[in-house]
């Protein structure tokens, strides 16, 4: 309980720091929402009138306070650009990003764990070397380029999916998930490569420890030693990595969302930044940070479950 309390407090502080930082940062970026809204039709008088109306002429801390207060009341405001409720807009996009992330995460795990174990079991073998090299090359690919190649190969040549054929989850959930498979693959691939490498080296270094010898001395077969003894220990550092990877996927899929034209949180964030649409930027950032923090918390809990040495009292 104490743990949860401490975590929640840290979370609140982090959120406060992040939002304040973003708010201040935006204050210093050139370009302002009023000008954006009026475009080339703007006259200085109209811009001024609009700034006044939007409260942009107030001191920045007052603006932040106002935003924070409203936010705590559950009011995220109205998007400057879309003129629609921010909470509605963000709520609409969260399932997209979350589905994409979950898919990518599952793929990563499904690819990485068996491969990592396989290579660790066959260290020095031909297949191990081949997988190692493939891994290294995958990790050397710029993510967007991998996305483009996947579109090219699976979309255009093999015709397994329609490039740009995103369907909304409200309209056709299976079509939606179907479309997300390849982007998720593009996200999962480099992370999986890293996870394979990590798991392999983790299994290898665990295998050198004394308790493994003890396990053999009791008559365990190699297989039994690996699955009953080594694996759980070897997974501990991997869990940290998987947690970080998951957090990274939540926000880091911006590029892949762009490549595959997926209207997720990342794209909303990107366009809102360039539109100077602060209410949306703040909401998305809070959302992403919250998701990341929750993931970190879950990782901590899993960590505690897997490793008895870490207590989460």
């Amino acid at each position: 309980m104490k743990y949860a309390g401490k975590k929640v407090i840290t979370m609140i502080i982090t959120l406060f720091a992040v939002t304040l930082f973003v708010f201040l940062a935006f204050h210093f970026i050139s370009g302002d929402p009023a000008t954006s809204m009026l475009g080339t039709e703007a006259t200085p008088e109209r811009v001024e009138a609009l700034r006044e109306e939007m409260g942009l002429n107030d001191p920045v801390l007052l603006q932040y306070g106002r935003w924070a207060l409203n936010f705590l009341k559950g009011d995220m405001g109205i998007s400057y650009s879309y003129r629609m409720s921010v909470s509605e807009m963000v709520a609409d996009k969260i399932p997209v990003t979350v589905t994409l992330t979950i898919l990518a995460f599952l793929m990563m795990v499904v690819i990485a764990i068996p491969l990592g174990i396989y290579t660790a079991k066959h260290v020095g073998g031909v297949i191990d070397r081949i997988i190692y090299m493939i891994n290294q090359v995958i990790m050397a690919f710029p993510p967007f380029f991998a996305g483009i190649l996947i579109t090219l190969v699976f979309g255009r040549i093999l015709k397994l999916f329609t490039p740009g054929g995103y369907v909304s989850y409200q309209k056709d959930f299976f079509g939606f998930v179907g479309y997300l498979i390849f982007p998720a693959f593009a996200i999962a691939l480099p992370k999986a490569a890293m996870a394979v490498k990590l798991l392999r080296s983790s299994v290898i270094s665990e295998s050198k420890l004394d308790y493994v010898r003890t396990a053999y001395s009791r008559g365990n077969s190699t297989k039994a030693v690996l699955y009953k003894h080594v694996l759980k220990n070897a997974l501990i550092p991997v869990i940290t990595f998987l947690g970080m990877a998951l957090a990274d996927m939540i926000a880091g899929s911006i590029i892949i969302e762009q490549v595959f034209s997926i209207p997720g949180l990342g794209r909303i964030l990107l366009t809102s930044i360039s539109n100077r649409d602060y209410p949306v930027v703040m909401a998305v950032i809070v959302c992403i940070s919250l998701l990341v923090l929750v993931v970190n918390m879950v990782v901590d809990i899993i960590y505690g479950l897997v490793d008895p040495r870490i207590s989460i009292e």
């Binding site: 050139s30 954006s36 475009g39 703007a42 008088e45 499904v110 490039p163 740009g164 179907g178 909303i268």
Partner: protein, 506 residues
Amino acid sequence: MKRKGLKSLLMIFVLTTLAIALTGCSGDKEAENSSQITIGIPQDVEESLDPHKMVAAGTKEVLFNLFEGLVKPDSDGSLIPAVASAYEESEGGKVYTFTLREGVKFHDGSLVTAEDVKFSIDKCADTSNGGPLVEAFSNIESVTIKDASTVVITLKEADTEFLAYMTTAIIPASNTAADTNPIGTGPYKFVSRSPQENFIMEKFDEYWGEGANIEHVTFKICANADSIVMDLEGGSIDMFPRVTATQAAELSDNFEVLEGTMNLVQALYLNNAVAPFDDVRVRQALCYAISPQEIMTIISDGKGTELGSSMFPAFGKYFMKELNDTYNQDTEKAKALLAEAGYPDGFSFTITVPSNYQPHIDTAQVLVEQFKAIGVTAEIQLIEWDSWLSDVYQNREFQSTVVGVDASNLTGAALLQRFVSDSSKNFINFNNADYDTALANAIASTDDAEKTKYYKECQTILSTDAANVYIQDLPEFVAINKKYTGYEFYPIYVQDIAKLKLADEQ
């Protein structure tokens, strides 16, 4: 035990993935019993959907299908009656009388009334927010309802071009959520908008006129400009209004590529108020340094229309092709002018380019190379559109910028008025008393020939004074699946979807 669990989990995952992938593929093609089209657009409709508040060209071209004014533009540039069935101009362009068309309905089913018309025009003329929504409406003295189907607009000063502004959308006075729920009288009505995803509209069955052919229209936001060819070929979009020459070349036979022009004045706009561009000789030197033809060859395979001043050919009678020859590429002359202006060794400056439009970025890159030949070093600085709006357009803190300036309607003033020295839109700080006089004369004159003469004088001044380094009117390539026909280009920045139809329906 555990391992078996993992294995079966894996199997389940793979199987569901496959199943979903397969259904995903098969479910893609919609039943085509009702006609539909998906049109790719590079930028989202990301602002208010109130037709009077929208400012982005990308929004206007989409909402064109939802709204109409008393009159509306046709593809040949003329104005045709829309919500008004007839109009009359009297007192030398001081009083305009509109007769409302009978039975015109809004998308919500209500009939258009004279009150709605007055409401719409008054709304745009309202000055309480620092200025009128439509600048030209500051000239309106009164809008009066003569009877249920007649509205009279009286101007403060005569303006024979005023009709062009009557394309301003007529909206119902009763709509309180105009920002997000657009209601107009156009051939299509609004269905939904999902940010960064799509904008959907459908045929308005009670449209007063001929109406649309295609029932369902989806504008899909294609975030990744580089995958447009794949999107078209893959079938996720049927049409993309602005592909590049290279993309056009990569498309298969299933697509038709129509060629038009963008209808804008692309130029290296120079801040006439800052050194060294406050010296006319420097500006002229830059004009001599470049070759619009070479730019067109490099960035769009030679397509495009060379421009010599702030006017493009869609304006017909106002356009002066001869101004293209004011400056022909001449490195020696450029160097001489620079030396004369006190820059024998050239100088350095920055070209600010909004990062959202590739042709401008490409043009800027070619310009940089061309300026090298006269010893001038230019550096490109990309900024976001919104920074451009505030830094360059509003605050005028820049040296030069490559953009395209378009016209909101087909009056000469739409393009030329911004260069009047005290105009709030004169972002290049152009200052020439002769120009101000000529433009005032043009607007004031009621005689068409005289008006044209003055507008031409304005253009000539811009050209000889080298206000900007004029380049071209960019070519526009519309890629459209051969399943559809009927696309028409307009001299202004719109997409008229109502004219599209299925090819086999002919």
